[in-house]
């Protein structure tokens, strides 16, 4: 697969003198074609993502396109079904616990990794990123294998532990980056003015890295809320997530209720990510953080 893209090395290409341009498309036509192609790709990216919205509003009880009639009955069905509501609350509760757990554990560990004197810091860093790299199917069956005998499948505790493990890399990445941007001289100033390390952390460091901490928490929440593979394996009859419920219903009975539930999920995710972007733009606006 690499053969198509690894043709010339960077240095070789820069050394060679540009050949006189011959026989290429006129620049305007080229640009027009490029923009047209990009427009099509963007439509390909966006349309299947948003198609669940019109699907959730149509009258028919089977998939019909274009949807006829306009109704909110599928949303009513979704919000009045105890199974869907149970799964939704379960997902929200788990995501909330995960966000708190991953943020606390991740913040403490980021401190040890960035500012600390830790034997094997490199190994711990690699291990922390591992859940991002290891395929979720491997983690899913491995967690089921260990969690099932000790009663950690299909319940809140098991999900909170599994999702905290899956989300903690996002927290460590964002908070380590924020800590590295933060000027240690500010902490030094606090310490030399008589603050204890803990006081310096609460009053100087934390307020400065707060946007990073908040972004990490939202990432953790979303990673937990959207996680589907591990959730599929460690769900039970009682404790199941909205992703597991979606998985089951897509496989067995394709009703527009799925489209309504999907729309709710999309709205939750997009609202949270918009929040992260807002936090990010705020932290970028604050020059005090950057030692440059």
């Amino acid at each position: 697969m690499m053969s198509t893209i690894s043709e010339t090395g960077t240095a070789g290409a820069l050394r060679s003198v540009p050949a006189p341009s011959r026989g290429h498309l006129s620049p305007d036509l080229g640009r027009w074609l490029l923009n047209g192609f990009v427009g099509l790709v963007l439509a390909f990216l966006l349309l299947p993502t948003l198609i669940v919205v019109p699907m959730s509003l149509g009258e028919a009880s089977y998939i019909q396109f274009p949807p006829k009639g306009l109704t909110l009955k599928w949303y009513h069905a979704y919000f009045s079904d105890p199974d869907w509501m149970g799964a939704t609350w379960f997902s929200l509760k788990t995501a909330f616990a995960t966000a708190i757990g991953a943020t606390v554990i991740g913040t403490l560990a980021s401190f040890a990794l960035v500012r600390g004197n830790l034997p094997g810091a490199r190994a711990l860093q690699a291990l922390t990123l591992a859940p991002l790299i290891v395929p979720h199917i491997v983690l899913a069956v491995a967690l089921y294998l260990v969690f099932a005998p000790i009663g950690l499948t299909g319940n809140f505790a098991g999900f909170a532990i599994a999702n905290t493990m899956l989300s903690v890399p996002f927290v460590v990445l964002t908070i380590s980056a924020a800590l590295q941007r933060f000027d240690p001289a500010l902490e030094l100033a606090a310490l030399s003015c008589g603050a204890s390390r803990t006081q310096a952390f609460w009053h100087v460091v934390l307020p400065n890295i707060a946007p990073g901490v908040a972004a990490g928490a939202v990432f953790a929440f979303l990673a937990s809320f959207d996680e589907a593979t591990v959730a599929f394996f460690i769900s039970g009859v009682e404790g199941k997530t909205i992703t597991r419920k979606l998985f089951e219903d897509i496989d067995y009975n394709l009703t527009p209720v799925i489209a309504a539930a999907s729309t709710v999920m999309v709205v939750v995710s997009l609202a949270l990510m918009a929040g992260v972007e807002w936090l990010r733009s705020r932290s970028a606006d604050r020059p005090v953080n950057s030692p440059k």
Partner: protein
């Protein structure tokens, strides 16, 4: 240079003491140990100790033609998805990197909204599109282009299209960030020296953006090798990949040692690719 100043600053502030560092890192170590290291180790150990040391389950992967076929198809699908994502994604990254203000925001939104939408929702959307009575078949029937619905869902093509859709942002974003870091003067210099836009792109921009291409390609390839949700829903039981095969072995056949061997193989290939291409994959820039 930045490292040197960081080091002096650190010595001024004074690092955390070793016991304090250990105490801060302990919860993370316990969490990863309990929910990551132990489960994965137990799964892998089960594939070779069943209960005595045996290579039987690993050998089975290569001895039975059906499993070899599934492995081959997984790699082939991942390769096709990677190439397609590159062909579709590079132009998007290029146009995005040359836009300012509102145009850049608009393209970024089109790339990021799918990325932030659950994989399940997007796989469901593809089922809605590709079903027998789905949107594409209804449209083709309505326009009189076909008289029988086409079999689109539960095919290898469906898996490829849906997976390319799901993974495309992972290709676009690294290419975009490497294109953004190329100084625009280089393109201008090439143009001043008489290169047309295409020649300048081919000789200057494309080679300089290759690190992003490699990062995106490796990311998409790795993610598609181990992808479970989309192949399970869109591919159906006839189009098994290594991930759905692992799922089937554990949920339906309860053959844990064999599932462990398959998981070990997938893990080894994934980690091997990451190790080889570590330098182009800067996880620090992700998210």
């Amino acid at each position: 240079m930045a490292d040197a100043t960081a080091a002096t600053d650190r010595s001024l502030v004074g690092q955390l003491s070793r016991p304090a560092s250990l105490a801060l890192a302990l919860p993370l170590v316990l969490l990863l140990g309990f929910a990551f290291v132990v489960p994965v180790a137990k799964l892998l150990a089960g594939s070779v100790f069943a209960p005595n040391l045996t290579a039987e389950h690993w050998l089975r992967i290569v001895q039975e033609p059906i499993f070899l076929r599934i492995l081959l198809r997984t790699v082939q699908t991942a390769a096709i998805v990677t190439v397609l994502a590159f062909l579709l994604g590079y132009p998007v990254a290029l146009v995005m990197s040359r836009q300012q203000g509102r145009g850049a925001m608009l393209i970024a939104a089109c790339v990021l909204i799918p990325l932030w939408t659950s994989v399940l929702v997007r796989s469901y959307a593809w089922i809605v599109l590709l079903q027998r009575t789905g949107i594409i078949n209804s449209a083709l029937l309505n326009w009189g282009l076909i008289d029988q619905p086409l079999r689109l869902i539960y095919t290898e093509g469906a898996v490829i299209v849906a997976m390319t859709h799901v993974l495309l942002p992972y290709m676009i974003l690294p290419i975009f960030s490497s294109l953004r870091s190329i100084p625009p003067e280089l393109d201008r210099a090439a143009r001043n020296l008489g290169a047309g836009p295409w020649t300048s792109f081919r000789m200057v921009t494309l080679p300089l953006s290759l690190p992003g291409v490699y990062a995106g390609a490796i990311m998409v390839f790795i993610l598609s090798l181990g992808f479970y949700v989309t192949p399970a829903l869109v591919g159906g039981p006839q189009n098994l990949t290594i991930a759905t095969l692992i799922g089937q072995q554990t949920t339906e056949l309860l053959n844990w040692p064999f599932a462990g061997a398959l998981a070990g193989l997938l893990l080894a290939v994934t980690l091997g690719l990451v190790a080889v291409f570590r330098r182009v994959l800067s996880f620090g820039k992700a998210g």
